[in-house]
Amino acid sequence: MAEALIFHYREQRAFLNRCNPLAKVASVLILLIPLARAPYKLALILLLPLVVLSLTQRLPLRRYGKELTFFFFMAVIIAITEYLATRSPLGTLAACLRFLAIILCGMLLADSTAPDDLARSLGSVLSKIPFVDGWAIASSIELTISMVPLIFDVTNQVTTARKARMERNRHPIRNLTSLGESIFTLLLDRAEELAWALDARSFDPSRARRALPYSAPDFWLTIGTVSLVILTLPFVL
């Protein structure tokens, strides 16, 4: 069965892979400040560096296939609802571009950051907060991120199995309920197996891990993002 690759980490020596996960998360959060209210021209400007990063990262967009059609479908729904609400073609375009930029941020982050590395970086910061089990929170985030590709895999598996058995088109709600039930059951089974596998290899979510060092790419990424946001803020305010 073809594996869903979207939101999977790929080990490579690209610029973003060399950045510390914390620098990447911070950059995404900073970028979201102007992006949240960006008109279409600004959204295009903010999207441009993300597209360049996608090229340097060599995101295998063609291989994402079905998963991208899901986001395309989401974009269409956003476009329709935005247009119905505002009757503004440019506003609709801006909403779609913002959505595209956010999805691209997620893809770049997931493609260049191993969940384990993210947990190391986040945990090392969160653990400094008093009365908070920062490492456990980071491990929970790590496991949640690890579940995302699993959801795509399971959905793919269930829909393929149903197609192979010539599932009839019944009432859409009944179809969705039945599909959701199958996906959820299989996901629970997979989650239980994953929990056993983690236990079997002595996984302890509260264990302190070795933090990752910062390097020159982190500096350039942060400076680049902050400069971009400072330059674009006047257009938003």
Partner: protein
Amino acid sequence: MKREEEPILQLEGLSFGFETAKPILKEISFAIERGSLSLITGPNGSGKSLLLKCIKGLLKPTAGTILLEGEDLTHHGKARLRSIGLVFQDSETQIVGQTVERDILFGLENLQLPLPVQRQRLDDVVALLDLTKQLKQRPRALSGGEKRRLSIAGVLVMEPKLLIMDEPFANLDYPSVVQVLKTLLRLRNEGHTIILVSHEVEKILAYIDKVIILEGGTVAAQGPPSLLRPLFKEHGVYVPEECALEDLTWLKP
């Protein structure tokens, strides 16, 4: 008795059930010798996989004792988790790292070993299981046989006293089965104690020291393969009748 002479694992009257009134595993007792290659077999639903999870410490037995090197670890699930390595039936379940290297290191990081020790163990296990070329690859891109070798490596690198493998030949093609067989024999020759759980007896029986047949959640028979072979069929385990015992393997010279 010297420590080297006593069985590495002893189960005495082990029972397990999700409801106490309805045990699935009933009064299971057997011993596994150090450095041996043992096989637990039986028909589907006989409780083989549940037994493994009880031994490993993933499920809590409702009765009985589990002795590891003579020490009673029945109520020390965490100690069993560290000392006993379990290779799951579905390799993908067990693989949690984003690359082969990261997956092998996962268990070592959990044991909080110093970095040089981690690197040394990684190098050793990668050489032993012939995974050097795949070290930077994504586990999901590996072949079935390579994934099985990776799941063995991930467990073996933690240096368990006992290695248990659940259906190691399941869903593998002929070359992959041969790869896994070679790996198993190499590990046994290096002194590892291995318990296999499989109903594909004809692939490995020639090399097995002890067979335990489970049926209906109890031990129906146990002993060396030469003695137990006539009993396989009546306990629902298929073995080609016309073959000599030494031919019951897929690893032909």
